[in-house]
């Protein structure tokens, strides 16, 4: 059964303190690993899609990497505005919008 887990559940960082979030997945044939950011009371905002092991993508202070069983979201020198819940997801099936989401990591960056 397709499954996504994320760790840690919550993370508190000081401004400028770099760290990584983990997403572990089990899926029969990966067709994309997706990262989203979600602010409280808002819908998820798309960040990255990764397709194959070894792939990396960057956006400002965020870098996403992918292995055969995990993805990491590295946050370099975070700022308070990076505080949010970060969700990862995999697609269930060959096509379509049936995504399996993890529970998210709630990131707080303190000034």
């Amino acid at each position: 059964e397709d499954q996504v887990t994320q760790s840690p559940e919550a993370l508190r960082l000081q401004e400028g303190e770099s760290s990584s979030l983990n997403c572990s997945y089990t899926v029969s044939g990966l067709r994309g690993l997706f990262w989203y950011r979600q602010d409280p009371g808002k819908g998820p905002e798309f960040l990255f899609t990764l397709y194959s092991a070894g792939e990396e993508k960057e956006k400002e202070r965020l870098k996403a990497t992918l292995t055969k069983k995990e993805s990491f979201l590295h946050i370099t020198a975070p700022k308070p505005e990076d505080s949010a819940t970060y969700l990862c997801a995999v697609r269930r099936g060959v096509y379509g919008q049936n995504f399996v989401f993890g529970p998210g990591t709630r990131l707080s960056v303190l000034p």
């Binding site: 997801a89 919008q97 049936n98 989401f101 993890g102 998210g104």
Partner: protein, 113 residues
């Protein structure tokens, strides 16, 4: 470029009532899906619509139904509301031919009392 829009933003219903939520997809998108997100959890897939038909469905009871209109907009209907239906309901859209990334709206907060 208009993103995914949803209405209403918030609503309160009584147990046993029925609710209809609405969604307009991102400009140029033709495929719409609905997700339920309980507090502190990740979104859960309810169903997907393409060409006005339900194409995929998650593990939700028949009380959850939907519709897609010729202009690609969509409705989610939930009958016989239960307290456990209280959640953020998210609509997502994509262009089927491009496959992959789905984009979410801001959601509709449903509280059942």
């Amino acid at each position: 470029d208009a993103g995914v829009t949803q209405s209403p933003t918030h609503l309160i219903k009584t147990r046993g009532q029925q609710v209809t939520l609405r969604c307009s997809p991102k400009s140029g998108h033709d495929t719409v899906s609905w997700y339920q997100q309980a507090l502190g959890q990740g979104p859960q897939f309810i169903f997907q619509y393409y060409e006005e038909e339900e194409r995929q469905r998650g593990n939700f009871p028949d009380r959850f139904s939907g519709h897609q209109f010729p202009n690609y907009s969509s409705e989610l209907n939930v009958n016989a509301l239960l307290l456990g239906d209280s959640a953020l309901y998210l609509c997502a859209s994509s262009l089927k031919s491009s496959g992959n990334t789905i984009y979410f709206g801001e959601g509709s907060w449903l509280t059942v009392v």
